[in-house]
């Protein structure tokens, strides 16, 4: 039988064993961190809003003398995105190295 010769069709919901599984795991993790902190925080702001303009607990708190939500969105989130990129790159670098060491054919 030509079981191992069967053509693989690229599909993130049916990843190929080896490199693609690892690649997808880190992608999903990064995307969750990306979406939660960004869109999740805006949703939280809206949940905690006490007036039509959205003032509430998070807008009264201050951090580094900024209103907390302004600091979080305007300053922390861009930094967070840079951090996510660095994590993704470090992880991908490591996985690549580890597998090329093991001579795993799928990582060649």
């Amino acid at each position: 039988m030509q079981h191992h010769e069967e053509m693989y069709e690229v599909n993130p919901f049916k990843p190929k064993e080896g490199s693609m599984v690892d690649e997808l795991a880190v992608i999903v993790a990064i995307l969750v961190g990306w979406g939660l902190l960004n869109f999740g925080f805006q949703a939280l702001l809206s949940l905690l809003a006490e007036s039509a303009t959205g003032d509430g607990m998070l807008t009264r708190l201050t951090f580094l003398s900024f209103p907390f939500h302004f600091w979080f969105t305007g300053q922390f989130l861009p930094l967070w995105f840079v951090v996510l990129c660095v994590i993704f790159n470090l992880y991908t670098d490591r996985v690549t190295e580890r597998h090329s060491h093991r001579r795993d054919r799928t990582y060649e």
């Binding site: 690229v10 805006q42 305007g74 995105f81």
Partner: protein, 511 residues
């Protein structure tokens, strides 16, 4: 402000900076003999990052973003987030795979991946449309700056600025001037931060890192003048904020001139790292932009104008420069700031004019209209297309349809609704085919302009697909259309599916 006459020193500084770019470009050229569009030599990860950042910085980042924060406060932070968060999507979903696929312009990728010349033409048309909308926004910035520099009204400033850009493109093309993007980033960051430091210092705020020291100014505005710039939903609902932010993100990951950056780096690993550096360099400027807006509001409020007047709203797009003038920043420093803004708008428009025109001559004229065209006639068509594109953009910019950042956001919406889904599924789903992508991109084009097209008849269309923010609902619909149509029609050629599995997803890196 525009009737205060010409500003001599700023004119000299702006002219000097632009000339120095041409001189440095000529020196680079004789040393490298590099390609005009994708300046050649390998420059390392940090240099690659600086190139990504300067390629990205346009009038929308340099001027438009602060202008919208000045008017809309927290709501406009959606631009800061959208235009940085998009790079995360670009990095994790596409950067490495595009590098491994080996096609870097949107029409080349779409045409090759889907094996469909119809798809290639549509993505070329979309790319040209994106370039055109983007250039209109840049021209608005240039028109306002030139108007201020020379003490002219907006339309004369615009004509002068457009003339300058076209002459630059012609001269640079004839002399073969290389684009030095590292130097460009250096000019941008210095010209943006130094005046801001001066401004923070003279207003009595923490000036050493002004981008992190303006928090007190936000609180002073609220306490002393009852101006609440930080109210989250004062200028838009949660849906509007998220829709705008998401649109800018997917647009970033689908913008043709951003996708083509992966050509200059030699391997996948450096491509990934240069994206991370590029994002950091972009963030350096985006952390600072809100400070200009906040300081401007503070100075106006102290002068007895807590809300921007109608004439101040008109000039909001150059609030960065106006706030430096209001804060009595030395005139030479204002000149440097104006030079930075001019560079950002100037080189972006020049680059997009060339890309748009070469897309027309290569993907439409050569591939479709006249496959036997000689190199000479392709060049002639490209030159003609540059002029036509510039003329159309100038005409549209005469009556700008919105703020610089808003016009640009429309280009992002178009990219997010068409090119982003085409790349995403092209990379991640082997079964996506030409019919699917053609149907999807056509749907995306219609959805992008749903507000002006159907907004009057179906008010719901205007709510769900706002012109600047249509991709939150648009991109998922387009993705669905591509999937459904692909499933109903025959799969793409076997060779392409195997190439995707073996080359694009077969390994993490190429040594």
């Amino acid at each position: 402000m525009s009737d205060s006459g010409a500003n001599l020193w700023p004119i000299i500084i702006v002219a000097g900076v632009l000339t120095s770019f041409i001189v440095v470009g000529l020196i680079n050229k004789s040393r490298e003999g590099s390609d005009y569009l994708f300046a050649g030599r390998y420059i390392g990860r940090i240099g690659g990052g600086a190139a990504i950042a300067s390629n990205w910085m346009s009038a929308a980042s340099f001027l438009g973003m602060a202008g919208l924060i000045y008017l809309k406060g927290y709501f406009a932070l959606a631009y800061v987030i959208g235009w940085t968060g998009g790079y995360v999507l670009l990095l994790v979903l596409m950067a490495g795979q595009i590098r491994r696929f080996g096609k870097y312009t949107a029409p080349d990728f779409v045409g090759e991946r889907y094996g469909s010349s119809t798809a290639r033409i549509i993505s070329a048309v979309v790319s040209i449309g994106i370039s055109l909308i983007y250039i209109i926004a840049q021209l608005k910035g240039i028109g306002m700056i030139f108007g201020w520099l020379f003490g002219l009204d907006y339309s004369r400033g615009l004509l002068l600025g457009a003339g300058a850009i076209i002459s630059y493109v012609v001269v640079a093309g004839m002399l073969g001037v290389a684009r030095n993007q590292q130097m460009q980033y250096f000019v941008l960051i210095v010209s943006f931060i130094v005046p801001l430091m001066y401004l923070a210092h003279s207003l009595g705020y923490f000036w050493l890192l002004p981008q992190f020291g303006y928090g007190v100014a936000i609180q002073d505005l609220a306490r002393e003048f009852q101006v609440n710039l930080s109210a989250p939903f004062a200028n838009g609902t949660l849906f509007q904020w998220v829709a705008l932010c998401f649109t800018l993100m997917v647009g970033t990951a689908g913008l043709p001139h951003v996708l083509s950056r992966f050509y200059i780096v030699p391997n996948v690993r450096d491509a990934r790292w240069s994206v991370a550096w590029g994002l950091f360099f972009i963030a350096l400027i985006y952390w600072s932009a809100p400070a200009y807006a906040v300081f401007a509001r503070l100075m106006e409020a102290s002068a007895g104008m807590p809300e921007p007047s109608a004439s101040a709203r008109q000039m909001a797009d150059i609030i960065v420069i106006r706030s430096a003038v209001m804060g009595q920043v030395p005139v030479w420093m204002v000149g440097i700031l104006a030079a930075g803004a001019t560079c950002a708008a100037f080189f972006t428009s020049a680059g997009l004019l060339i890309t748009g025109a070469s897309s027309f001559s290569h993907d439409i004229y050569y591939r479709v209209l006249n496959p036997h065209a000689s190199e000479g006639s392709k060049m002639a068509v490209a030159k003609g297309a540059t002029l036509v594109l510039a003329a159309i953009a100038t005409l549209c910019a005469m009556k700008p349809p919105g703020m610089i950042a808003e016009i640009t956001a429309t280009a992002f919406a178009l990219a997010g609704n068409t090119i982003f889904p085409a790349f995403l599924l092209g990379i991640w789903w082997g079964r996506a085919n030409g019919n699917g992508v053609v149907a999807g991109m056509l749907t995306g084009m219609v959805l992008t302009f749903a507000e002006p097209l159907f907004g009057r008849i179906f008010p719901l269309a205007a709510t769900i697909f706002p012109l600047t923010s249509s991709a939150l609902c648009g991109a998922p619909i387009v993705i669905l259309v591509i999937i459904i149509v692909s499933m109903l029609t025959p799969p793409p050629p076997e060779a392409m599916r195997q190439f995707l599995a073996r080359e694009v997803h077969g390994r993490l890196e190429r040594s």
